[in-house]
Amino acid sequence: MKAHRNQPLYLAFLLHRLSGLGLALFLPFHFYVLGLALEGGDVLNRFLHWSELPLVKFAEFGLVFLLAVHFFGGLRLLALENMPWSNRQKNYAAVAVAAAFFVAGGFLLRAF
C-alpha cells in the first residue's frame, strides 16, 4: 500500500467501497435465487439445501458482515456530512467495524 494511504480513515474508505462492491456483485445472484420461487417452493428448497453446508454458512456470515459494516460505515458518513463536525472520526470508524462484527457474530452463532 502506498505510504500516504496507510492511515485509518483511508482504510475506512476502502472498507466501505469494497463492502459495497461485494454486496453489489452478490445482489444479482441473490435476486436470481429468490426468483427461483417463481418455479415453485421445491425448486427454491433444492437450492436452499446448499445453505446447510458449513462453507456456505461462513459465506453468509461474510455477507452479513459486509452489509453490517457498509451500513454502520454509511451511518458514520451521513453523520460526517450532515451533522456538525466531530473530530472523533477514527473512533466512529472503529465502532462501525466492531458493531459489524457483533451483528455478524450473532448471525454466525445462530447459524450453527
Binding site: K2, A3, H4, R5, Q7, L9, Y10, F13, R17, L77, L80, E81, N82, W85, Q89
Partner: protein
C-alpha cells in the same frame, strides 16, 4: 540498497522531467537536528549542482519546500531526518498529482487554476465610504471561516488526495477549503457564484472523506470538514431552488 556506515544516510532522489525520470542515490553525512531540507541542500551544493528543488523561508511559514518524503507529502524544512528515515534511507520525490518541471520541482499551475475555478477569492461590495463591517469573532460563521483560513497553498493536501489522483478535474481539498472559508465570510458578495462553482461536476461532491488532507496538512487544517460543510450548503441551496421552482 543502503550501504552507508553509521554516520551517513542514503538518499534516493527522483531526477527527471515531464518526459520521465528515475531515482538517483546519494550518500549524505548525518548531522544533529538535520532536516530533509538540509539534506537536499547538501546534495545540491556538494554532490550535484544540477539538482533542482524549491524552498524559500526554510522556517515552516511559506510551504514552498513541499515534496514527497518516503511517499508522504511534507514540508522538508519541518521534517527531521531522524523522524522519517527507514533503515538509514530516505526517498525524495516531487509532489504527487502535479506535473514535474524538473527533479523535485513541480508545476503548481493547475493547483492555482482550480483555486480560481472554485472562486477562491474574496469579492467585496462595500467601499471605503461605508463603516467597517461589525463581525463578532465568536459568531459561528466567523469561527468556521477562521478554522479554515490558514491555508498557505503548499499543495500537501492536493498531493495526498486520491480523488485528485483518480479524477484530474477534481477541484481538490485546498481550493474547496478556501471556498468554504469564504462562504462563511459575511462580507463576501459572491456567495451564489461560489456555490455554483463548487457544486459543479468536479466539485465538492466527489470527496469520499478519506481525510488524507487533514492527516497531512502541516497547518493542521481539515479540508474534509470544510468540504462536508460545502456539501450541506450546496445541497440545501439546490433543494430550496427546486422547491421554489415547483412552487413559483
Amino acid at each position: 540498497m543502503p550501504t552507508s556506515d553509521s554516520s551517513t544516510i542514503t538518499v534516493s532522489v527522483w531526477r527527471g522531467s515531464a518526459a520521465g525520470g528515475k531515482l538517483q542515490d546519494f550518500e549524505v553525512p548525518q548531522q544533529p537536528s538535520q532536516t530533509i531540507l538540509d539534506v537536499v541542500t547538501w546534495i545540491q551544493r556538494k554532490l550535484d549542482t544540477s539538482l533542482s528543488y524549491r524552498f524559500a523561508c526554510r522556517v515552516g511559514m511559506c510551504g514552498s519546500c513541499a515534496m514527497m518524503v518516503n511517499g508522504i507529502p511534507r514540508w522538508t524544512c519541518r521534517t527531521h531526518v531522524n523522524k522519517v528515515m527507514q533503515n538509514r534511507h530516505i526517498t525524495l520525490e516531487p509532489l504527487r498529482n502535479l506535473p514535474v518541471i524538473k527533479d523535485l520541482a513541480c508545476d503548481m499551475s493547475e493547483f492555482f487554476e482550480k483555486w480560481k475555478r472554485a472562486q477562491g477569492h474574496f469579492t467585496g461590495s462595500a467601499s471605503r465610504n461605508e463603516k467597517v463591517a461589525d463581525i463578532s469573532p465568536q459568531s459561528n460563521k466567523r469561527q468556521a471561516a477562521n478554522a479554515a483560513i490558514e491555508c498557505i497553498n503548499c499543495g500537501v493536501c492536493y498531493a495526498s488526495c486520491d480523488v485528485v489522483a483518480w479524477n484530474r478535474d477534481y477541484l481538490g481539498p485546498a481550493a474547496l477549503n478556501r471556498a468554504w472559508s469564504l462562504q462563511n465570510d459575511v462580507r463576501d458578495s459572491a456567495q451564489q457564484k461560489r456555490l455554483q462553482a463548487v457544486a459543479g461536476d468536479a466539485g465538492c461532491h466527489l470527496c469520499h472523506s478519506q481525510q488524507g488532507c487533514a492527516t497531512y496538512c502541516p497547518n493542521e487544517l481539515n479540508p474534509t470538514a470544510s468540504i462536508a460543510g460545502l456539501k450541506r450548503m450546496t445541497a440545501s441551496d439546490f433543494l430550496r431552488r427546486k422547491y421554489r421552482q415547483r412552487h413559483a
